[in-house]
Amino acid sequence: MNSPIVVRIKKKRIVELLANGKRVDEREPTEYRKIELDSGVIERAEGSARVRLGKTDVMVGVKIATGTPFSDVPNKGVLTVNAELVPLASPYFEPGPPGENAVELARVVDRGIRESKAIDLEKLCVEPGKLVFVVFVDVYILNHDGNLIDASTMAALAALVNTKMFKYEVEDGKIVKKPGYTPLPIVNYPISVTFAKIGDKLVLDTGLDEEEVMDARLTMTMDKDGKICAIQKGGGSGYFTKEEISEAAKIALKKTEELRKIVVKG
């Protein structure tokens, strides 16, 4: 972390620029950095994707296992999202169990997928109450240059779309693999956009410099029908007004649609 004085000088400069509608890297306030997406980058995983958002680099692997369903939803598969802020990705990341930033990241990604009902979990039930498939979504941050949430939701969605399930038959209550694959039943496409409030301006897709000086952060996740399925405010000791939130919702509606086209092709 930079010293408070450096942060203050940086903030002054960034706020001055924003007053004239400019950003440190010359982007528009709602413009994303270059998005590069590769799917199927890990052969051993049932699904995977890597998203580069400028210099931010996120890999998501999906593994499928079998397990028992929760007793209250015996006919549904299980979704688990985990995030690792891998120490090689930033001088500020340290080895050890997930801290609050990693937990928050995982839970925001999870909420988008879960609340939009992106995976048809009922199709992942083998034997109600006894045997279901468990979808593990592991978010792996490889380089941190800001906006980990949006990069992670995009990579997670791309990885899920890319996921192949092996074909199987049930014999004596056990799963026997058969040759061939079927896609994971994906029925919705949640995309998040994360705003930073810097001074009194809202910007999208913050770089690390901007994140260091932002007053507050607001993530909106929308599904394919433009419905909001998850929101998270965070990141600093600032606040939003109701008017700013309304403005953000309008921008999010457009922007999520744009990004969805990049992540889900065809």
Binding site: T80, V103, E104, D110, I228, C229, A230, Q232, K233
Partner: protein, 260 residues
């Protein structure tokens, strides 16, 4: 894995309870007799823990929440200290007996997230720059949970901070609105939250018109979402009046004791 499984369970419980019963009758009255835009009865009290620098107790419906504040004091471990301001250490914690099925006292991933967002909801209110290199500890204990505990925790924590004499720009007050049975409603209780379609917790500083916590899960159109925020803010304003009342009451009580 274990922790995340628990969370998954909590969230899947929502769906399983679905359609078990109607939440709103034909007259628009909810299970506990409230109207759609009506809060649960709120009871607030400050100065309830003698050892703490500040404390508050809250009841909102069946929620029972205790908050203790310590500090500003020397930051520990020392590396968390900041040269230019105080840091807030916030712990949201549910008692093992606070919910139907015993909750392990170890912090779940939900607890970790809530501790973070609650801290970030309180920070904008506090003049942190007055106390560099110190820590202010906010301990929120959920003794009984009945839906909306993060909001109730914030409401009580702001009172405890004020009770500790920590300079603040405004009190922070929180309340959720949501959607259940196809209708927007204020201050969802446990059953409404679990069965409902969406939940929008909001923390607010009325004097500054500032939203300091905002989350949502579920499914809402942009219009519904904006209405839900307005509804939650109205609820916040009602609780805000009760907060101020509770703070005053402490000094009135002290004054009366002196006179006797």
């Amino acid at each position: 894995m274990k922790a995340s499984k628990k969370k998954t369970k909590q969230e899947t419980e929502k769906k399983s309870a679905k359609k078990a019963e109607k939440l709103i009758d034909k007259k628009g009255v909810r299970l506990d007799g409230r109207k759609l835009d009506e809060l649960r009865p709120v009871k607030l009290e400050v100065g309830v823990i003698p050892n703490a620098d500040g404390s508050a107790y809250l009841e909102q419906g069946k929620n029972k929440i205790l908050v203790g504040v310590y500090g500003p004091k020397e930051a520990h471990p020392r590396h968390i200290a900041r040269q230019d301001r105080a840091v807030i250490q916030c712990r949201y914690h549910m008692a093992p007996f606070s919910v139907d099925e015993r909750k392990s006292p170890a912090p779940s991933r939900r607890d970790v997230e809530l501790s973070k967002v609650i801290r970030e909801a309180l920070e904008p209110a506090i003049f942190l720059e007055y106390y560099p290199k110190t820590a202010i500890q906010v301990y929120i204990e959920i003794l009984q949970a009945d839906g909306g505990t993060r909001c109730a925790g914030i409401t009580a924590a702001a009172l405890a901070l004020a009770d500790a004499g920590i300079p603040m720009r405004d009190l922070v007050v929180a309340c959720a609105a949501g959607k259940a049975d196809g209708k927007l409603m204020l201050d969802l209780m446990d059953t409404e939250d679990k069965v409902g379609e969406a939940d929008v917790p909001v923390a607010f500083m009325p004097n500054l018109n500032a939203i300091t916590l905002l989350q949502m899960d579920g499914n809402l159109s942009v219009d519904e979402f904006e209405n839900a925020i307005s509804m939650a803010i109205d609820g916040c304003k009602q609780i805000y009046a009760l907060q101020k009342e509770a703070l005053k009451l402490k000094y009135v009580a002290a004054e009366e004791a002196k006179e006797e």
